[in-house]
């Protein structure tokens, strides 16, 4: 905002934003740790992709959005769902396959959804949802709205045709879409450089005349600032942006995959853990005098309680009714 703000209150709102971001990152971390536990106990089935290590991306970018903007994700979307405001209870219940889940137990980990939060879904096929983001942006423009759509996908998604079709379309039609590539370096167990001719994803923006920025995905504030610039471009005339956010996942691709050993070394994972985005954010807040260690610990205790409550809620929630099996295939 360009309005004159007293330095003290500006600092205060900055501090509040940073504190909120740290809390959200902690919430994702603790949520995912509990999800891993529940998976090991057999309470979560199927495929479950954790966001541990990548928290700064969802938190940094989503804080740059308004509540009436739209978000669409790939299958590693627990973090985005939580930051967007879907209650941890509803997300955990969805992982548990319960009727109280945000997709009523019909979606699961990869298909979280809440239209009320303008969270237009996680999607379980790599890159296929990117054209839908163009459609969301198209509808905004069709109605002369000033909202935008933020679309997340991994670096491996840039090898699918839908990515290229959608970027071209968004650029030709000047759609208010931000394409946020979370480059965590591995498509499941395959290093990106082994399967991509161009390994700087951001270079793909040239082909489609998009604005582009390469961002340090371990720094939530860097992500926040880059996304804020992309948001400005989208709102002022709908110029789409491709963000390449370099991040790293500390866990395996999904709960059924090894952490390291096959496609990456233990040493590499350990080295990346030294760049933990949450530790970095906590250090910053302590350095800025926004929080002391006790304050950080208090936030952590708060989110741990929230996650514990979510697990209890999910545990105690009912399974979907058998009748739900046949509903919502078609409108009638």
């Amino acid at each position: 905002m360009a309005t004159a703000t007293a330095p003290a209150s500006k600092d205060q709102s900055q501090a509040e934003l940073h504190r909120r971001m740290l809390r959200q990152m902690l919430l994702i971390r603790r949520f995912e740790e509990k999800a891993a536990e529940a998976y090991a106990l057999g309470k979560i089935g199927g495929f479950c992709h954790l966001y541990i290590g990548q928290e700064a991306v969802a938190v940094g970018s989503l804080n740059a959005l308004r509540d009436d903007d739209y978000v669409i994700c790939s299958y590693r979307e627990h973090g985005q769902a939580l930051v967007r405001g879907i209650p941890a209870t509803a997300v955990m219940a969805e992982l548990f396959g319960k009727a109280t889940g945000c997709s009523r137990g019909k979606g699961g980990s990869m298909h979280l959804f809440d239209a009320g939060k303008r969270f237009m879904g996680g999607h379980g096929i790599v890159g296929g949802h990117i054209p839908l983001a163009a459609g969301l942006g198209f509808a905004i423009k069709y109605r002369d709205g000033d909202q935008l759509c933020l679309c997340y996908f991994g670096e491996a998604a840039v090898n699918i045709g839908a990515f290229h079709e959608a970027l071209n379309m968004a650029s030709v039609w000047k759609l208010p879409v931000i394409f946020c590539c979370e480059n965590n370096r591995y498509g499941m167990g395959t290093a990106f450089e082994r399967v991509a001719a161009v390994t700087d994803v951001v270079e793909h923006a040239c082909s489609y005349d998009l604005a582009a920025e390469l961002v340090n995905g371990m720094d939530a504030l860097a992500v926040y600032e880059a996304t804020t610039r992309a948001v400005d471009r989208a709102r002022k005339g709908g110029h789409p942006t491709l963000l390449e956010v370099r991040t790293y996942r500390f866990m395996g691709h999904s709960m059924s995959d090894p952490l390291h050993g096959v496609y990456r070394t233990k040493e590499e994972v350990e080295e990346q853990r030294q760049r933990d985005p949450i530790t970095q954010m906590a250090h910053k807040l302590i350095g800025d005098g926004v929080l002391d260690q006790a304050g950080v610990d208090a936030l952590d205790a708060e989110v741990r309680a929230e996650v514990e409550a979510a697990v209890q809620f999910a545990d105690q929630s009912p399974d979907p009714e058998p009748g739900a099996l046949l509903t919502d295939v078609l409108a009638e």
Partner: protein, 325 residues
């Protein structure tokens, strides 16, 4: 009453829905400035403008994907596949994203994907296909295939108003071949999910759709001269099938011949036969027969295409055999 073609009927239906509802828009390759490869959307750009008649890149996945995204936001997109064969490029969008959105997310996707299907025009293997079987087993989709000008208009209008995704298969051989007088000023809406008795008969039922309705009617006319009375049921909607109408005609004539232009293996005829086995087996006085295309890609050469696709004489032959059974 002016006589209009099947193509003009589609055009009128689209036009009326665009006039009626601002949420309706058209997107596809060459649909705007060029007016559509077959001129279905000729004049639309001038009337409705660039914001509602949108020329797209040749990107079928993104055309259907973007249409789906816009539909999730409450718009009513009509996406054209320049030839319906190209819908295979959007198979992921339709079967994974569009068809499941309501089930997994409670999200409506009221899109229409329309395009010219079918052979008899020497289009060769990539411009003559009938893709219904590829989508027929996907819960969450609807498929319609009009045979008449009235239904071409009535079904495109109904499809646009439907809250579910609808594949609208328009047969390019019928575009300018079929003409019909449609009353002006009457709103024509063909209910989705309802078949139509195209010809009443007593001795044998032909269940069919699309261009094969006309081949079947010609066959029925010939058989009538031999004293065989054939009933022809035009399905109009392929998904969901109108089981009640199919069972009713079988109970009436006790003999069933299924005719479709699509290839044989895995075609709709197999499913219809299975349903009759389940629902009306006791009523049958003969084996369920089918006339379909041969199980080969559609060849270009006229002699070959004519051999591969079902012709009136093929229907006559099968019907005569079944009637005598």
């Amino acid at each position: 009453m002016a006589e209009i073609t099947y193509l003009e009927a589609i055009r009128q239906g689209l036009w009326e829905e665009m006039e009626r509802d601002e949420r309706v828009f058209i997107l596809g390759e060459d649909v705007g400035a060029y007016g559509g490869a077959f001129k279905v959307t000729d004049g639309f750009l001038k009337r409705f403008g660039e914001s509602r008649v949108i020329d797209t890149p040749i990107s079928e996945a993104a055309i259907v994907g973007a249409a789906a995204g816009a539909a999730h936001m409450g718009l009513r997109p009509v996406a054209e596949m320049q030839f319906i064969d190209f819908i295979s490029c959007a198979y992921d969008m339709l079967t994974n994203y569009v068809a499941t959105a309501r089930y997994r997310a409670g999200l409506a996707t009221p899109i229409v994907v329309r395009g010219p299907c079918g052979g008899f025009v020497r289009g060769g293997p990539f411009h003559s296909q009938n893709p219904e079987a590829a989508f027929f087993h996907t819960p969450g989709l609807k498929i319609v295939a009009p045979a008449t000008a009235r239904d071409a208009k009535g079904l495109i209008k109904a499809a646009i108003r439907d809250d579910d995704p609808v594949l609208y298969l328009e047969h390019k051989w019928l575009y300018r071949r079929i003409k019909e007088s449609l009353p002006e000023g009457e709103e024509i809406l063909t209910p989705i999910g309802r078949a139509r008795v195209a010809r009443e008969g007593r001795d044998l039922s032909i269940v069919t759709y699309g261009a094969m309705v006309w081949k079947s009617l010609e066959a029925a006319e010939q058989l009538d001269k031999d004293g065989v009375s054939v009933e022809v049921l035009d399905l109009r909607t392929l998904l969901p099938l109108d089981d009640a109408a199919i069972v009713a005609t079988v109970k009436k004539t006790n003999k069933l011949l299924i005719v479709h232009e699509d290839t044989r293996t895995g075609g709709l005829a197999g499913e219809i036969a299975a349903r009759i086995n389940e629902q009306a087996f006791e009523w049958l006085d003969g084996p369920i027969m089918r006339v379909t295309a041969h199980d080969v890609p559609l060849p270009y050469a006229p002699t070959l295409e004519d051999f591969v696709l079902p012709q009136t004489e093929d229907v006559v032959k099968a019907a005569r055999w079944l009637a005598a059974y």
